[in-house]
């Protein structure tokens, strides 16, 4: 067995990382195509406030993050649906607001700032067995939801109005997507960290969008790129003693850059 697999913490980190590598770009493809890329970053910041609250009240930080992220997600959805704000302006309020709450709470209660740091940038060595179970359960939930509503999600992402005329419950599914984003960023937070989560949601998705020739192909390719980035990034982190979150994101960016070198692949395949 390679050295990387001999440590329990690396096994947990890799398993958790693989689950994140699968769900983040799956959600990401829908977000990028619906021009909602920023929502992942926003909810990641909002969830940080949940982490801080979790520490303060003795709740599991991931659970705290999940609750606050979901509440934030529904708040964003309502604010957007009301149409009183420009779409992205609503996100800016939640993004900075979430971060501000987290910073204030940290200031109020000194002592857990080191732990919080690990949520900001991710800490693969800190993935406990319990964290892993939460990650796997939430990840499976996201995958099951996307699989169950795949054809509706495709229809409304491609053409929202056409989907409505097909009787697709667009508003309910919009809320579902936002909810799934909240779950995804919370899952990803532990490994890649709050600040880098949206990268894993967005970058493999836009890389796949450059290359794929069908929607299904885009999803599969995005997942493949993301999983490869997670594995390569973590391996590099382990052997070269790098920050794992950063290594994963840099790998995915390298793949993105490389995909730009083959712009003729799609044209040639036509």
């Amino acid at each position: 067995m390679p050295e990387i697999l001999q440590y329990g913490f690396m096994q947990r980190a890799l398993l958790g990382g693989l689950m994140i590598g699968i769900i983040a770009p799956t959600i990401g493809v829908f977000l990028v195509l619906r021009r909602l890329s920023l929502i992942a970053d926003t909810l990641a910041h909002v969830s940080l406030a949940g982490v801080a609250l979790g520490f303060m009240f003795g709740l599991h930080p991931v659970l705290g993050a999940l609750i606050v992220a979901v509440v934030g997600a529904l708040g964003i959805e309502r604010l957007r649906a009301s149409g009183r704000l420009f779409g992205e302006a609503a996100l800016a309020i939640f993004l900075s607001g979430g971060l501000a709450v987290a910073v204030v709470l940290i200031g109020l209660a000194d002592g857990f700032s080191v732990d919080l740091f690990s949520y900001l940038f991710g800490a693969i060595t800190a993935v406990q067995t319990r964290d892993l179970w939460i990650i796997l359960a939430l990840g499976l939930f996201v995958l099951a939801a996307v699989a169950a509503f795949y054809k509706e999600l495709f229809a409304m992402t491609f053409d929202e109005e056409g989907a409505r005329v097909q009787g697709v419950p667009v508003d309910a599914l919009n809320t579902l997507i936002t909810f799934l984003v909240a779950v995804t960023v919370v899952v990803a937070m532990r490994v890649v960290g709050v600040l880098l989560t949206s990268a894993l949601v967005v970058i493999p998705a836009i890389t796949a969008l450059r290359l794929a020739r069908s929607f299904r192909g885009t999803l599969l390719l995005a997942v493949a790129i993301s999983v490869a980035s997670v594995v390569a990034g973590m391996t590099a982190a382990f052997y070269l003693d790098l920050a794992a979150g950063g290594a994963i994101v840099l790998t995915s960016i390298a793949v993105f850059a490389a995909s730009g070198l083959a712009p003729t692949a799609r044209a040639a395949a036509r």
Binding site: K151, F154, D159, G162, A163, Q166, A212, R213, G217
Partner: protein, 262 residues
């Protein structure tokens, strides 16, 4: 003449043959009234053309008819059911004016067409072989089956429009609504397209509603004509519309009529 007695229940084939009805429908954009007390019935097998100048409310009326917009007043029924409670969407197909979608969207032609079967298959279920075959048949009908694995964003606008028509046909709707379906489509493709509509209407008894500003084409193809300019100026036989001068009235602004009188 209305179907107000039966609009509470969903009937796939209303006894009186009325597929869709709008009654005293108004619509306001802000303080501007764009539709004023429009009453119109569409019967099974009709090929209704809706014409009118720009801004006459044609598209608005169509969108109200399929529940995308809520009227400010009046009431709309589809297949005997109030449109707000209507849920048999597999009976309805809709082709929008110039398909609006992101050109870089990574969807193959087949994926787009099969997505039209969503309502028929139902929430939470997956597409099966039947759906795939229906999609290929629909593509065959519009002559696009050989393009089924292409990215839809890479097609010409005329080809895209045929793909969207296939998407509207793929679930075999009884009522097909088309909003300026031939905008951006070259003349030859338009000819084929109207041939297709004639076949659907005559052979499959599909009820068609087409919004257009091309009076000549509409008058030649449709069996019923509605002339709209905020209010319903005329509704009936296309030839009668020509004779009665309804068309001149429709396209001549009030001021011009006055100016020509001296």
């Amino acid at each position: 003449m209305t179907t107000s007695g039966s609009w509470r229940t969903v009937l796939t084939a209303p006894a009186d043959g009325v597929v869709a009805a709008v009654e005293h429908v108004c619509f306001d954009y802000g303080s501007e009234r764009v539709l004023d007390r429009v009453t119109l019935q569409i019967r099974k097998g009709d090929f209704l053309g809706i014409i009118g100048p720009n801004g006459s409310g044609k598209t608005t009326l169509l969108r109200i008819l399929i529940g995308l917009l809520r009227p400010s007043c009046g009431h709309v029924s589809l297949f005997g059911a109030d449109v707000r409670r209507f849920n048999a969407w597999h009976l309805v197909g809709y082709v929008r004016q110039k398909a609006v979608f992101e050109a870089r969207f990574p969807a193959s032609v087949l994926e787009v067409v099969i997505s039209g079967r969503s309502a028929r298959v139902g929430l939470g279920r997956r597409f099966g072989r039947d759906d795939r075959e229906a999609a290929e048949r629909a593509l065959e009908i519009v002559g696009m089956n050989s393009f089924r694995d292409r990215l839809v964003g890479r097609l010409s606008s005329g080809q895209q429009q045929r793909v969207f028509i296939a998407r509207a046909l793929v679930h075999e709707p009884e009522l097909l609504l088309l909003d300026e379906p031939t905008v951006g489509v070259d003349v030859e493709a338009q000819e084929q397209f109207y041939g297709l509509l004639r076949r659907l209407n005559r052979e499959l008894r599909t009820t068609l509603v087409m919004v257009s500003h091309d009076i000549g084409v509409v008058a030649a193809e449709v069996t019923r004509l509605a002339c709209l300019n905020r209010t319903l100026v005329f509704h009936g036989d296309p030839e009668e519309a020509m004779r009665s001068g309804a068309l001149e009235q429709l396209y001549r602004p009030e001021s011009l009529v006055v100016a020509h009188r001296h």
